[in-house]
């Protein structure tokens, strides 16, 4: 490790170099509507150029005066400008040759710090990114002086795709080599491509069944059943049901595609879970009355279960879950809805020792994060243990399931999972075959709520 004062001495030149080297990258991104950061960046480049021009004539006394002074606590100049960028930018200093794990960060801008949860400014690069391709790329820039780029996908719940660009920075004598690493988020592009392919594959397969039925009836109506009024009425009824099913399928597929496109972008806004449940229950009154199903619910005091979220999407989650409950409940059944807050982020333990339980989605561990838990139970036929891992698969249906009409599209739980994943929450299920199923979702509490109720976490029983 070089002494801190040396590092400080070089920050000016480093940052100037960063700005110069990164400018073309950023300008290339102008096409992607990043005008503001690019402008700021240009300002940074200009400022850095001025610093550079002034340096040889009047070296700043502050820089020269502390040969072994205290480590600098002030951020390097222009770091504010770099922090404004959307793309993560890092400057890396070479460790020993042949020791890629020894490279360290000299600087990381705000997006890089929050994305990789950088704990300290001089962290080793390996503790921040450990993708071997990126490590190799940086190693080549530092040791070989070669610029390059790779696309990489860090493992994680949110399937993001990045391109990493590394280039060597101007080298100073007797100092370790420096390199610039800029990441650009390509998730949107890649995802849009993949979505189109998936959509076509799913849609063409699933729409074929109702379509075949429609075509068949049309043929019959034009042929043998041409003058049979009774059959015609019956067929037209079936055709209408099939057409409606196609419409629902298309709606669900579209909504799933839209959700998946934004899955990596955290939602804005706050939603009170208790109010959302009331709204859904009110809207579903006609359906509930038709089937004589009752919704019983318990919730904490108003304001205790406010989560970070997109209201429409949260409503959709609750609606899909209650809808499933209604579908599989016998006539006169009861659906129990419970809201608990605050709870910890682990899947709630299975309540009945006989029940099979499985977490279908668990959020990435974030220390100290508190959640609101929503639990919806029905008294329907339940599901066998083997079926649980496949529940969120598109178009999956539990085999041999007799009750429950076939009006569903098979996409409801997939939609729930993707929405909850976008909200950084979790989904779990428990079920006893023949005695009903319980779906639980938990979502991070909104910021203010967390501070207002520090006095302890509700034990989920």
């Amino acid at each position: 490790m070089p002494s801190q004062s040396e590092a400080r001495l070089d920050r000016y030149t480093v940052l100037a170099g960063v700005a110069g080297a990164a400018a073309p990258l950023v300008l290339a991104g102008l096409g992607q509507a990043q005008t503001l950061p690019a402008l700021l960046f240009s300002a940074g480049v200009a400022g850095a150029a001025v610093m550079l021009a002034r340096r040889p004539r009047a070296p700043s006394p502050a820089l020269a005066a502390h040969p072994s002074g205290p480590p600098p606590s002030t951020p390097p100049p222009f770091s504010g400008v770099l922090d404004e960028l959307e793309d993560p930018v890092m400057v890396i200093e070479a460790g020993g040759p042949g020791e890629p794990a020894g490279h360290r960060l000299v600087f990381a801008n705000a997006p890089a710090r929050s994305l990789f949860r950088v704990q300290r400014q001089d962290a080793r690069l390996i503790t921040v990114i450990r993708n071997p391709q990126v490590i190799e790329l940086v190693d080549e820039a530092l040791i070989g002086g070669i610029a390059g780029h790779v696309a990489f996908e860090p493992a994680g719940a949110h399937d993001r795709v990045w391109t990493a660009t590394a280039r060597p920075l101007a080298r100073q004598e007797a100092r370790p080599a420096l390199a610039l690493l800029v990441l650009r988020d390509q998730t949107d592009l890649r995802r849009a491509e993949r979505m189109r392919a998936d959509f076509l594959a799913n849609a063409s397969h699933e729409l074929r069944t109702p379509l075949a039925s429609l075509t068949g009836f049309i043929e019959t109506l034009r042929g043998p059943a041409r003058d049979d009024t009774e059959a015609r009425d019956r067929f037209l009824g079936i055709m209408q049901v099939q057409a409606e099913r196609m419409a629902r399928l298309i709606d669900d597929l579209m909504s799933l595609s839209r959700i998946e496109l934004n899955e990596h972008i955290a939602p804005q806004g706050r939603v009170d879970l208790a109010l959302a449940v009331t709204d859904v229950a009110d809207a579903m009154t006609p359906v509930l009355r038709d089937k004589a199903v009752r919704v019983d619910w318990t919730a904490p005091a108003p304001g205790a279960a406010i989560v970070e979220g997109d209201r429409d999407q949260i409503i959709q989650v609750i609606q899909n879950l209650i809808d499933n409950g209604v579908k599989y409940s016998p006539r006169g059944g009861v659906i129990r809805v419970e809201i608990l807050a605050p709870v910890a982020g682990d899947p709630p333990p299975v309540r009945d020792p006989e029940a099979a339980g499985l977490a279908l989605l668990t959020p990435e561990h974030r220390p100290g994060e508190l959640y609101a838990l929503l639990r919806i139970s029905d008294s329907g036929p339940g599901m066998p243990r083997d079926a649980l891992p496949r529940l969120t698969e598109r178009f999956y249906r539990v085999e041999g399931q007799k009750s429950g009409d076939r009006s569903g599209t098979g996409l409801g739980l997939a939609i729930v999972k993707h929405i909850v994943n976008r909200h950084r929450g979790g989904v779990s299920v428990e079920s006893i075959e023949g005695r009903g199923a319980t779906f639980s979702i938990w979502l991070p509490l909104a910021a203010g709520v967390r501070q207002a109720r520090p006095e302890g976490v509700t034990e989920v029983s």
Binding site: A101, P132, A155, P347
Partner: protein, 230 residues
């Protein structure tokens, strides 16, 4: 933690841990690539990842050598001894993960010649992604020295077992339905088994991380799923 007087000792320990993290990154990539190659029947990717396995072996040997050197020359005590030992043990587990991933790669090459298995492939892919996320979580826990996070990986081991169990039955049904699929089915079963074992290694690493940080073994009995026996 008290600082070491000889600066380079601390540095050496950190360097050892950093090497383990680097190896973890490589093992993660190998596992991820094997799952992707399997799911997309991507033969070139499978071949490339099989070829990369030697790197993992070499890294394990390097880490072991460095750790032994450390023990011989520095005689680490208590916390430092745990750090040294856990580096070695984690490297061993990671190397095993790499071997299992390589095996998935090899089976992918064979499966690519057979008929696509449809929904079973998707179930295995889903299980693979779950296992990959466990491995990521546990290496994150090691990197950041977060006990809580390691424990959460350890506790949730049964989820992987549930997936394996469900897949096992799905595959049996599939093979009974059409005996011509037995060859492919057997390979698919091994792919699933390999993934399950990678999950076990992630759990092992969680135990090692817990011991390294706290000096104690995880005591409470983990619920174990064993429904294979009727």
């Amino acid at each position: 933690m008290n600082e070491h007087i000889v600066r380079s000792y601390e540095d050496e320990l950190n360097q050892l841990a950093a090497e383990v993290v680097r190896m973890g990154g490589l093992a993660e990539a190998q596992v991820g690539d094997s799952i992707q190659a399997f799911a997309r029947r991507d033969v070139p990717l499978a071949q490339a990842m099989i070829g990369r396995d030697v790197k993992l072996d070499a890294m394990e040997a390097d880490i072991e050598r460095a750790a032994i050197r450390m023990i011989a020359l520095r005689q680490p005590m208590a916390n430092d001894l745990r750090r040294t030992m856990s580096a070695m043990k984690i490297a061993m587990n990671l190397e095993r993960c790499g071997d299992l991933a390589k095996n998935i790669g090899k089976r992918t090459l064979i499966l690519a010649e057979a008929e696509p298995a449809g929904p079973v492939t998707r179930s295995i892919e889903r299980m693979g992604r779950l296992v990959a996320s466990r491995l990521k979580e546990v290496i994150d826990a090691y990197t950041a020295s977060e006990v809580e996070r390691a424990v959460s990986v350890w506790v949730r081991d049964t989820e992987v077992d549930e997936h394996y169990e469900s897949l096992f039955r799905e595959l049996l049904t599939y093979m009974m339905g059409d005996p011509r699929t037995i060859t492919a089915g057997a390979h698919l079963l091994f792919v699933a088994k390999n993934l399950e074992r990678i999950g076990d290694h992630a759990t092992n690493i969680a135990e090692i991380v817990h011991f390294e940080i706290t000096g104690q073994e995880i005591v409470s009995e983990r619920p174990k799923l064993d429904t294979l026996t009727p």
